[in-house]
Amino acid sequence: MTAMHENLAAFGHDPWWVVVIKVVLIFAVCVLLTLFNIWWERRVVARMQHRIGPNVHGPFGLLQSLADGVKLALKEDLTPINADKVVFVIAPVLAVVPAFVTFSVIPFGPVVDFFGHHTPLQLTDLPVATLFVMAIASIGIYGIVLGGWASGSTYSLLGGLRSSAQMISYEVAMGLALVAVFLYSGSLSTSAIVAAQGNLWFGLVLMPSFLIYAISMVGETNRAPFDLPEAEGELVGGFHTEYSSLKFALFFLAEYVNMATVSAIATTLFLGGWHVPFWIDHVWAGANTGYWPVLWFFLKLFGFIWVFIWLRGSLPRLRYDQFMALGWKRLIPLALVWILVVAVVRVVALENSFDPHWVAVPAVLFTVLMLVVLLRGPKAPALPVFENQGAYPTPPMPAGGAVRGAAAPLAVPVRPSTVSAPARSIEEAS
């Protein structure tokens, strides 16, 4: 506990102008990250699909998202006649503000010389900063649910409901994944958790937690393959069907800032935060001091964003029941069992004073078990038995039931025909 208090002692002494600069910087970084991420996603997904992506406006097409934003702002702002006017306007704001607020407790770097003032590269920290993050993330859901409800449209309502169910379900798995980190670091403050990862990242020693968090953060941000709330083919646009112009832009902004936020949390809690990767600090002592850690932090952040993009490029959207089954029947039980394992190892380590890093051994075993459980997928449902098989208009089922996996090579059965076709002469044919 003393270590935690020492850590937090660095906060709360900033003069007002340092706080203002930090707030403005965080806001600017979030907005710029969004513009950059949209461009980057479009470029990377394009490469994954053999295309080039936006490359015309600005160097490498970097100004494309800015141009899209301006176009969006200049569009007509429609409010449906059935909409609840007040909530309809508040909802996008409610979605976007929490996404920004979370960044206030993300540590970008250690204590630095900030315009002649010694201060950590972090707006603030709380003894319960991670709980604060979870709480704020839940408020963001209100924006989406209320936006869907206030639109006065069935599509929006369905999208909003799906989204609320999805985000609440995956927040459970997310929170449980974080418990192991709290148990292991002994703190809920983000700066203390980063400090506890000086030697070994929690992503390695607590690999199952990391994997559960990584999966649930995709569900939490409504990104492919868990983008059911805005499933274009099924719900038109989901909760934002009725939104246009700047209000829609706010939802769009919230989605991308959320992506950056969960990636930043994952970096902070599992990948050592701003610490330089691969023990480079043993070779280069200055790597973890000054403003260099900001670079490492953003490299890790962009790594996560790239994984988001990779998932979007590779996976089809899950069906709703598959999605819920993954969250409730697999991720949550696995997370609970894993917390139990961590707690036992932790207690045994504390009482017998051996290196708590040995938790890495059960972590690897548990990860293998988890991957097997997750990749095996649900049991195929029993196929219904049809009467009168082969009767018109139903074709007969293939022997052994419906075909799964790759189709068998096409083979045309050779029928022994008794009557051979008469050879036609050229005169007949012409």
Binding site: R47, M48, Q49, H50, R51, I52, W310, G377, G405
Partner: protein
């Protein structure tokens, strides 16, 4: 399902997208860099001329009859010795192709008995009004080459149209 199908196949798809990232994209930089079309690309139509500049179109309307999209409108008229546009008896007085309807299938080309109607490789046919997308005869006629003369004018290559359709050396 085999073990491979259960455990490996869900992962293998990720490798496809990952490796594709580093392959050369197939995109053509179209508006900046125009690639030539295939030689027999079905582009905008063209009404051809005989070597002396007379039109090949005889106003038979077979193209209009062949058109599945009803995009071609032809009105034929009689040539006279004083005012002659084509070697034979008749010529196409009005010739319109509606590119809002045309599907560029090329059936009109196959129907044309005099090879008057062919297709070019030009494909930039976008425009912003209905009128401008109905191409008139003057829009479709091939430009005059050196040695050609703007019709109407008398037949320069012989006494009758057979000298145009089957010149010396070709068995009639």
């Amino acid at each position: 399902m085999t073990i491979k199908e259960k455990l490996w196949d869900p992962v293998a798809g990720f490798a496809v997208t990952f490796t594709t990232q580093f392959k050369k994209p197939v995109t053509e930089q179209y508006p900046f860099q125009k690639e030539p079309t295939a030689p027999r690309f079905h582009g905008r139509h063209q009404l051809n001329r005989h070597p002396d500049g007379l039109e090949k179109c005889v106003g038979c309307e077979l193209c209009a009859w062949a058109c599945p999209a009803d995009a071609i409108y032809v009105e034929g008229a009689e040539n006279t010795d004083e005012v002659r546009y084509s070697p034979g008896e008749r010529y196409g007085r009005v010739y319109q192709i509606n590119y809002l309807r045309c599907i560029l299938c090329g059936l009109c080309i196959e129907a044309c008995p005099t090879r008057a109607l062919t297709m070019t490789n030009e494909y930039e046919l976008a425009d912003d009004s209905r009128e401008s997308l109905i191409y008139q005869k003057q829009d479709l006629l091939a430009p005059l080459q050196p040695g050609m003369e703007q019709p109407p004018h008398p037949m320069r290559l012989g006494d009758d149209e057979q000298d145009y359709y089957a010149p010396e050396g070709i068995v009639r």
